[in-house]
């Protein structure tokens, strides 16, 4: 203890406690803080992983309870109702078939496409001028609304007698591409809600158009291109 000779004797008595205090203080400020930080970080990670696990577990359970075949059928029906591709021709074909079946003579039609944003569906507006009895017009409207693709008659004008009325209809049909990104694996997913199930029931109950298949004729040359 010779090196402490410069200290007066009475201060040397407090040397040990002071060194211990200082040592503990320094240890708390360095190692102690580091360890507490580590522990807080670990607990935070544990909490995050726990939350993710709960989410994944719920997701696995939700998906495990779904019947693959039923899901396939539902998606097929829903995709027919709201086609992933432009449904103009599909809608026109359906309208034409239903008109034929219900006795409506279509004299003129006009088609306008409306492209919307990502969240809203693209739509096809079909304006139809036709003729038929009132009851056949009603059957036609009901037929259009109960057949895929999902269409809605938004405007009706009828003029004439009950037996033969001229009719102007505005029919809106929707389509939209299927989303390409399905979200990350830890994105929560819920089964269909009650309201969604009700809509799905309506979609699956839509009838398939009779003879709705298109056969696109191959382009072929004509002898006289100006004569039809």
């Amino acid at each position: 203890m010779r090196f402490l000779g410069f200290l007066p004797f009475q201060y040397r008595l407090f040397l040990t406690p002071v060194v211990v205090f200082l040592g503990v203080f320094i240890a708390i400020m360095t190692a102690g803080r580091f360890m507490v930080g580590q522990l807080i970080e670990l607990r935070s990670k544990i909490s995050d992983v726990n939350a993710q696990n709960r989410l994944l577990e719920a997701k696995v359970n939700t998906l495990a309870n779904l019947d693959q075949n039923q899901l396939n059928q539902q998606v097929q029906a829903a995709s027919l109702a709201v086609p992933p591709d432009n449904s103009t021709l599909f809608a026109l074909s359906t309208i034409r078939n239903i008109a034929g079946n219900t006795g409506i003579t279509i004299s003129n039609f006009n088609v306008a496409e409306r492209k919307k944003g990502e969240k809203e569906a693209n739509s096809v507006e079909v304006l139809i001028d036709g003729r038929g009895s009132v009851s056949s017009v009603i059957s036609f409207i009901n037929g259009v609304q109960k057949t895929a693709p999902l269409s809605k008659v938004v405007e009706i004008r009828m003029n004439g007698a009950r037996s033969s009325a001229s009719v102007n209809l505005k029919i809106v049909s929707i389509w939209n591409p299927v989303p390409e990104t399905f979200g990350k694996i830890d994105t929560p997913i819920e089964d269909l809600k009650v309201t969604e199930k009700e809509i799905l029931d309506k979609l699956t109950s839509l009838q398939l158009p009779s003879g709705g298949e298109f056969s696109v004729s191959r382009p072929a040359g004509r002898e006289n291109p100006f004569s039809f």
């Binding site: 004797f9 009475q10 008595l13 407090f14 406690p17 002071v18 211990v20 205090f21 040592g23 240890a27 708390i28 190692a31 102690g32 360890m35 507490v36 522990l39 670990l42 990670k45 544990i46 992983v49 994944l56 577990e57 997701k59 696995v60 998906l63 495990a64 779904l66 899901l71 998606v75 829903a78 995709s79 709201v82 569906a121 009603i138 409207i141 809605k152 008659v153 938004v154 405007e155 009706i156 004008r157 009828m158 004439g160 007698a161 009950r162 809106v172 929707i174 939209n176 299927v178 989303p179 399905f182 979200g183 694996i185 997913i189 089964d191 269909l192 969604e196 809509i199 309506k202 979609l203």
Partner: protein, 180 residues
Amino acid sequence: MELRGGRNRINLLPQELRDIRGLRFFSGIAARISLAILGIYLATTIGLFLAIFLSSQELTNLENTKNGLTNNLEAVRNKEELLFTLKNRVSLAGVVYDKQTSLPSEAIERVLSILPADLELKSIENQDGKNVFLTVTASDSKAVLNFLTILENDQRFSSASLNTFGLREEGVYSLSLELK
């Protein structure tokens, strides 16, 4: 040298040692406290080490569970894609079904269902399931009165406004109405 009870009390310690007797007492207390703090610190440090070790173990276990769940999820990823597509289609269709409570066809059917046989329908119009505009003709006033009574008694229409009412030269009554 102190005088106490008639006896002499002699302190033989050197002067500098005599001065630190009180300090020695306090230094002893300080040494004990510092040792206690050191002990507490060491115990806390051991506790922290233990907590960090156990938390690391817990985290590893949870990560393993997460990996297992992720693998399980990968196996049913196809179902997730189908459900996602289904929800997307349903939400798009929901826009069509939610836009209105009543469809034009329903509104038209409602009106046609109350139209008596002695009235002739001339025109009917509806947009977005709202008001129905109707023009009818009747051969006599009795048929007009009958129709208006039916309208008055029908609970499905909240209001009916008679927009025009006329008698043509050929004796035919013509009415145009707006029904809500």
